[in-house]
Symmetry: C2
Subunit: 270 residues, 2 copies
Amino acid sequence: MGSPDLAKLSLNTATVKAQWTLAQAIEGCARHGIAGIAPWRDKLAEMGLKAARRAIRAHGLAVTGLCRGGFFTASDWLSDNRRAIEEAHELGARCLVMVVGGLPEGSKDLVRARERVRECLALLAPEARAAGVPLAIEPLHPMQAPDRACVNTLEQALDLCEALGEGVGVAVDVYHVWWDPKLAEQIARAGRRRLLAFHLCDWRVPTRDTLNDRAMMGDGVIDLPRIRGWMEAAGYAGFHEVEIFSERDWWQRDPDEVLAVMKERYLRFC
Amino acid sequence: MGSPDLAKLSLNTATVKAQWTLAQAIEGCARHGIAGIAPWRDKLAEMGLKAARRAIRAHGLAVTGLCRGGFFTASDWLSDNRRAIEEAHELGARCLVMVVGGLPEGSKDLVRARERVRECLALLAPEARAAGVPLAIEPLHPMQAPDRACVNTLEQALDLCEALGEGVGVAVDVYHVWWDPKLAEQIARAGRRRLLAFHLCDWRVPTRDTLNDRAMMGDGVIDLPRIRGWMEAAGYAGFHEVEIFSERDWWQRDPDEVLAVMKERYLRFC
């Protein structure tokens, strides 16, 4: 396994979402020599798709993913996911990240919620394939199962991929999967074709909030080089995208400082 | 699947740990007609093993588990676990619950931590067998992997059991495993022989603390009757033990109220 390669670093805009618009994040990446960006759709809507595409191209940035499709528990899930596929196509995103949603309001039926995820993905997959947009199913941490995603392990996500066929893969976010005893095995099973994205951050001890308390690489307990090694051994050659939700720390800081620290930590701890 | 059976209800003393000594919890179970109790060892030490055994027998309570052995990250793990086995033997506990510990201080090596758990259990298992004390490995929620237990799925726990042989099984706590897409399959795999304990509570949305914010049955999103059904279909016929860590709610209430609500919720929601 080689050293971390700055040319593969990407900024997921959630990392500076409290401070910057998408236009500012694009400028920030250019200023800091970060070659990849993964926008969130709320920021994209705010900037406008055409303006975003123009600015991203002007700076030669790769769009390492669009966040996000999914949330099949929402009433407008179908139209919203169709728009997301279209946006990902327009941006030339390497994938559309799918956060599938948790339990429907008032329901405790996790088995049924998971069946529904498969049905919704089966409906969308052909449309995404036709648009040339790979769908990246993101397994989320089990603590986020009820309200964000009922796909909670890489094994489960890959079982879905196999049922869905071509054009569907996974987004591996260390925050969500680092604890999994089958992680190495399942990354190997996924292989290059299914590994569509790799997200970095760290796991803080103690974790004070189940959603917005992620740590910067090096400030937590995740063995990041080991997981990157598993990804690369499986053939993943894409970007390394930093996605940090951090209400109490990184969202409070100067965003130029966040990007500078992120680069330095990437080289030291990933 | 039949209705919940009050004769199978057990109180894990953690549920009232802020309010009651072990002596008071034993009296409380007797007063409320709860036939099982699972003491924690700090409370047991405070009361004294002989006095506890005497009081438990006087009221005819079953000891559905002793909490807890494990924590192989502690320097005195061997002597402490030997004492725990001896105490479980003296109390006639149906199992000694093993919470195996997380990462050693300063380490990120989860793979090695898990190897060490297997080694420590392999050393203890023959001693526990000789003492007639079944060891119940408890997989803990992945959010507790770094600091409490690096055994995080039932599948992983059962793989350990198979490596360790007779006299070792699992404690299934709905709080830790409810999200697992392989839960039904792994409970069936465990079967009667390996299913040593069944712990009840509920998962609160949102969860405000990763350790001490469990909900009373009925106040969360876990489909408790379904999981009990899987347990019973696999042959489990033991007690249903209520274990609720709840800093903000149940530890603040009158403990007689807690037991009364617990009985009522058990019959309605489990």
